[in-house]
């Protein structure tokens, strides 16, 4: 039971590296599913979080919604949408979006709410209108937290996008599902390792994004280790 040798053996198989069921192709599929799900979730959750945080209204509704989405069993959402819409990308996206919206929404909302009321007062006192306060003050200050929400969502999405294989799609989940079917342990392990690798890439990517996007005045302490 030498796990390392197993995995090395699996990664070493030449057929892994070419063709539509090879590692590069599956990895790319996985990245595409995850990226699309994250984009969709951000497109929903960031604006809603910004607006509810800014107005202070609908915050309870947003939090309840986020909690509900968090409580939804992924498998259930996936299967239900498959039954209704059939096999395809839609069920996978529905399940992943339900998963990714809560952390983005909650962090965005809290980020905007957390802006010092004195700053908001100063901004309004200088003649900023609501939209200007949101875009020039609240969003940049909430950005570090929004990025934390996006990163948490991204890691969950990358890990859960494996379910695409359950409904006949590709992605890294194929190695896990097929490995299970063939009782090919190294294949399950290899597939999982690739998912973890992608999650690590996500973490590094967000660290870079933070560096580029977040104003230096908000980065007093060094970024947290991971």
């Amino acid at each position: 039971m030498n796990v390392v040798l197993w995995i090395l053996e699996w990664f070493g198989r030449p057929e892994q590296w070419t063709g539509t069921s090879g590692i590069p192709a599956r990895f790319l599929e996985h990245v595409l599913y995850s990226g699309l799900a994250l984009l969709l979730s951000a497109a929903i959750a960031v604006p809603v979080g910004l607006v509810t945080g800014h107005t202070g209204r609908g915050g309870f509704l947003a939090a309840t919604l986020a909690n509900f989405a968090r409580a939804l069993p992924t498998i259930g959402v996936l299967m239900l949408v498959v039954l209704v819409l059939g096999i395809g990308l839609a069920p996978v996206m529905a399940a992943l979006v339900a998963l990714a919206v809560p952390p983005i929404l909650v962090n965005t909302y809290e980020g905007v709410r957390g802006v010092d009321p004195q700053l908001r007062d100063a901004a309004e006192g200088m003649g900023m209108r609501g939209r200007e306060v949101l875009l020039r003050l609240e969003t940049p200050i909430a950005l570090p937290l929004i990025l934390v929400g996006l990163r948490t969502a991204a890691i969950q999405v990358v890990s859960t996008a494996t379910i695409a294989a359950f409904v006949g799609l590709g992605g890294l989940g194929r190695f896990i599902v097929d490995g299970r079917a063939r009782q090919d342990f190294p294949m399950i392990l290899g597939g999982s390792l690739l998912v973890v690798l992608l999650a690590l890439i996500v973490i590094v990517l967000f660290a870079l994004l933070r560096r580029v996007l977040v104003a230096r005045g908000l980065r007093r302490r060094a970024a947290a280790p991971i």
């Binding site: 100063a122 006192g125 200088m126 003649g127 005045g217």
Partner: protein
């Protein structure tokens, strides 16, 4: 001129923060609103830029009712400074100052250039332009706050306890700076504080509010200290108001004695006769440039050998001095109380001694100042 006409503010919870306020705030001067906590100073201030909407009455700037103007546009023409400066943490010092010019759609370069000028005006180093607010001290942040309010050159400046979060030494220097700025810029400043000392120092006019949001007295500081209208105002401005009031009487009205000032080269013998003629227990010894060296008592002189020069005797430290041309009676009184001889030394602006004044003579001068209802001007 900013006019409050029968202005009342009642908050939705029923609190009446400002009650039938009538006030005329003069253009180009500093008007201070003071009063105990919760008496409606902030509320009154914020009704000017419509951060608070009044319930009834009218607030007008140069005759234009503020309610006829869109709040955002109105506010861009009014500088606003708050307690913790309220600087944007994600913007550099320069961009913080340029906030309103940016809002007004100025060209970026022009806005930053203007911000740079303002940094100089409020006494910030050009090297601090690229810093972020958290890299500045509290006093520096407050300077940035003032510069930001001045950026678009608004005629009116609203300041809500701008200096109350910094330590007393820094506060004093910020106050000096504001007085200097105001001499240069002549803005219409409305300044809220609960510190009567600060109000007297920077205000051209002071409005004292009483609890319940009513105006108790509106006057120039001199008259406020001389003639508080009632016990509330008297209590609020404090029991040492009499001493504080001396700040408004110039020391140059004092008659100083120069006959008790003697040169260090004088012999003890000669000095003894000077003291006897003047009937004074203390003589002030000065050097050839007429700068004070110290006090010598008549008693010491009696015991000294007749041919000794005063400069070789043990002199008592001369203590505090005041500048006759620019200081007030309060500074002279201070100097006399702190002097080991009980006498204040008046000097010229170049530091040469003009003469001395005893506490008894000061007392007479203060006595007659008390009769003058409105002092003749000058402050320390």
């Amino acid at each position: 001129m900013i006019t409050f006409e029968d202005v009342t503010k009642r908050f939705p919870d029923g609190t009446v923060a400002v009650d039938h306020l009538d006030l005329e705030i003069p253009t180009g001067r500093t008007t201070v609103l003071v009063g105990p906590s919760g008496c409606g100073k902030t509320t009154s201030l914020r009704m000017i830029n419509r951060m608070v909407e009044l319930t009834s009455g009218t607030v007008a700037i140069d005759g234009d009712d503020v309610r006829t103007r869109e709040p955002a546009v109105l506010r861009r023409s009014i500088g606003y400074v708050i307690q913790q400066a309220g600087l944007f943490p994600h913007r550099t010092v320069l961009d913080n100052i340029a906030t309103v010019p940016f809002l007004l759609g100025w060209d970026k370069r022009k806005a930053r250039e203007r911000a740079g000028e303002l940094m100089e005006l409020v006494g910030l180093e050009p090297g601090q332009a690229r810093r972020y607010p958290h890299q500045l001290s509290g006093g520096q942040q407050q300077r940035v706050g003032v510069a930001r309010a001045l950026a678009a050159d608004p005629p009116v400046l609203l300041m809500d306890e701008p200096f109350s979060a910094v330590d007393p030494v820094v506060r004093a220097s910020l106050q000096e700076e504001l007085i200097r700025l105001q001499d240069e810029l002549q803005k219409t400043i409305v300044f809220v504080t609960h510190d009567i000392e600060e109000a007297v120092k920077i205000g051209d006019a002071i409005a004292v509010f009483r609890p319940g949001g009513r105006l108790a007295q509106f006057d120039v500081p001199e008259r406020l200290l001389a003639e508080p209208v009632d016990e509330f105002v008297e209590g609020f401005i404090g029991y040492d108001r009499g001493v504080r009031r001396l700040s408004f009487f110039p020391a140059r009205t004092l008659s100083l004695r120069s006959d008790v000032v003697v040169d260090a080269g004088t012999s003890a013998e000669k000095a003894r006769s000077v003291a006897r003629d003047a009937a004074e227990p203390w003589l002030l010894v000065v050097d050839p440039d007429k700068r004070p060296l110290g006090w010598v008592s008549a008693e010491t002189l009696e015991g000294a050998a007749g041919d000794r020069e005063l400069g070789s005797l043990a002199l008592v430290g001369y203590g505090h001095i005041f500048v006759v041309a620019t200081d007030s009676l309060r500074a002279a009184l201070d100097a006399s109380v702190l002097s080991p001889a009980g006498r204040a030394i008046g000097v010229d602006t170049d530091g040469t001694v003009v003469g001395v004044v005893s506490q008894a003579d000061l007392g007479a001068a203060i006595w007659s100042a008390g009769d003058a209802a409105v002092p003749v001007g000058g402050r320390d």
